[in-house]
Amino acid sequence: MADIVLDKVTKSYPDGTTAVHGIDLEIADGEFIILVGPSGCGKSTTLNMIAGLEDITSGELRIGGQRVNDKAPKDRDIAMVFQSYALYPNMSVRENMAFPLKLAKMDKATINQKVEEAARVLELTDYLDRKPANLSGGQRQRVAMGRAIVRSPKAFLMDEPLSNLDAKLRVQMRTQVSRLQKQLGTTTVYVTHDQTEAMTLGDRVVVMRGGYIQQVGDPQTLYDNPVNLFVAGFIGSPSMNFLPAAVEESMLRTPLGDLPLGERMKRTLGASDAPRQLIVGIRPEHFEDARLIDDTQRAKGFEFTAPVDLVESMGSDKYVYFTIEGEHAASPDLEDLAADAGGADLPPQDSLVTRLSAESRVRDGADAKVWMNLDKIHLFDPRDGKNITLHEGRAAGVTAS
């Protein structure tokens, strides 16, 4: 077991492209850390550099306090689980799991004992003599995990290990991976493009984009206090709503209506270099049916009336969709997000997604009066995507004094 430190680690290719730009990251001993981001963000390259499968162009990588830049993968004492599982097709499950131990020249009795132990933990005892071709996807995935844990390495690296499983199995395996990691207490670096996996698994999440780290933090922090538009849009499902806003006097003009500004925001926006055009971000759960709000809460929020497009009842709550007239929020960050999601995860630009209580009686086609929580609103600078409502690292809403 060991900590992993990335000190200004950069990866450039001979053709001049740079996949990873000087990343600084400290992973504590026993921590479960997730690298998440859209494809091409450099997360897998970073993982491969930690593994030793790709050379580090510049910067330093330390595992357990020791510089390992020039060490071969086999000398770094770390195990990796691949998306394709990479099981040796000619070997049985037992031989697959024993392979790293055999190469380490352990004696047969120890190997057997370790393999049996790992098989027991992963519920693979009955399949030890099968070939990988005769296993289901979930079983293959567990064999791949088994091959990693038998060695008791300093760290586990996992490269989208659950991506080849079907949705239901993925959720099951997610809990199993999490439990296993807690049980073993081994430092784990886990790469995924799925923000749900990132939120549910990790102690800390690293959001990456275009070879740069955007934000590092525990899942709740990323969700509540995103530092920029990209993180705000990437984390959360359904994702945050983004609306254009213009700064006017002590008001913020948005398609939903004019929002009041608190003293602190006024000061920030009053600065000479402050942007005049902003992007408002608000999560679906920070809306509520105005009829279900009591007066003390009503005072902290803002109400608007709009025609309902669609109501999706989830049982526990209702997703209500509205159409936004007029301009759309535009920013390079949002374009990146839309390109990555292929429009799937992100709501269409002219639609507002709200999550209301199940008791709400709004209906398709009818007008609904909706309340939104001004304390939970984020304002982003469209030029660089920065969250300007963050105050000492915490999102403070627009009305804070």
């Binding site: 086999k74 990479a86 990988p132 071709a133 005769n134």
Partner: protein
């Protein structure tokens, strides 16, 4: 009231289902029959061509091999059953040629496998000038065998050949049995290693990169990755390459014909079959030899195909699914 009305309806529905299923089954099998018929029809032209160009010559040469039939003495033609086989199989010329053929086959195929694997690894791993490397490696295979054989012959001709001058300025390598065989084998290897390499490269492409990465994470050295991961995964491709080249080498003819013309007991079985059949005009003995060569090839092919069955990882189980 409502209960009594729904129950019988449910029962009849249940009774209907098996009947429907049965009907569907017979329909399906009829459909299958149609499909099978169509399959045969689609195969028919190819099968017909095969019969004309393959089955007929084989049967005809087998028919010839059962006769005493020498075009120099046509009136002596006579049906003699397996007498020709006894003649050939008890003759030392045949067994010498058989030994020479086996020697050439085994040595050249083994050397080609090793060299071809090396070449395939180089071609697979080369990043710069990949096209150039591949093209230049394939040149020997692109040259007509007879042309290549002649250039080898000239190279080994005493006095004028550069290789002869270089290696043995005094002797005449092509006139001594051991050195002549070595030169024949060398020419074979030079000629067909690229083919081997090409087949093996296709096999290398079958080995997923992740597998090699996983092996190096597991602590395998380069050699261990090669022997424990790459070779087992490539096994089907290796067997195909070996089969092709073995059958090819068994029929070795052009190189021997040009380099030594079978002198000093360097004839292969194909050479002596040619000498009897075409030069000697002895259709009976020549056909017997052809049939024997065919049988040897068939037996070796059979052995290889048997090996294939268990070669592909998990093949037998997957085949069952």
């Amino acid at each position: 009231m409502s209960i009594s009305s729904t129950t019988p309806a449910a029962e009849t529905a249940e009774q209907k289902i098996p009947r429907q299923r049965q009907r569907r089954r017979t329909e399906l099998s009829e459909g299958k029959k149609q499909e099978r018929k169509l399959g045969w029809l689609l195969c028919a032209p190819a099968a017909l061509v095969m019969v004309v160009v393959t089955a007929y010559p084989i049967v005809y040469s087998f028919w010839l091999s059962l006769q005493r039939y020498d075009l120099k003495f046509p009136e002596d033609r006579q049906f003699v059953w397996f007498e020709n086989y006894v003649t050939v199989l008890t003759n030392s010329y045949w067994w010498t040629a058989f030994g020479v053929t086996m020697l050439i086959t085994v040595v050249s195929v083994v050397v080609e496998l090793v060299l071809g694997m090396g070449l395939a690894l180089i071609m697979h791993r080369t990043l710069v000038g990949r096209g150039l490397v591949r093209t230049s490696a394939l040149i020997p295979y692109g040259i007509v065998t007879v042309v290549a054989a002649f250039s080898w012959r000239y190279a080994w001709t005493p006095g004028t050949g550069y290789l002869a001058n270089l290696v043995s300025p005094e002797g005449a390598p092509l006139t001594e049995r051991a050195s002549a065989l070595a030169i024949i084998i060398l020419a074979e290897i030079w000629k067909t290693t690229p083919f081997m390499a090409l087949l093996l490269m296709a096999g290398l492409a079958l080995v997923p990169d992740d597998l090699l990465k996983a092996a190096s994470m597991d602590g395998a050295s380069w050699w261990q990755r090669f022997t424990k991961v790459m070779l087992p995964v490539m096994k089907p491709a290796i067997l195909v390459a070996l089969l092709f080249r073995t059958l090819d080498a068994l029929r070795v003819f052009d190189n021997i014909y040009v380099l030594t013309n079978g002198a000093n007991e360097t004839s292969s079985v194909s050479m002596i079959a040619y000498n009897n059949l075409i030069k000697g005009l002895n259709l009976g003995i020549g056909s017997t030899m052809s049939v024997l060569i065919f049988l040897t090839v068939a037996i070796i092919a059979f052995i290889f195909v048997k090996l294939f069955g268990t070669a592909a990882p998990g093949a037998s189980e997957e085949g069952r699914r």
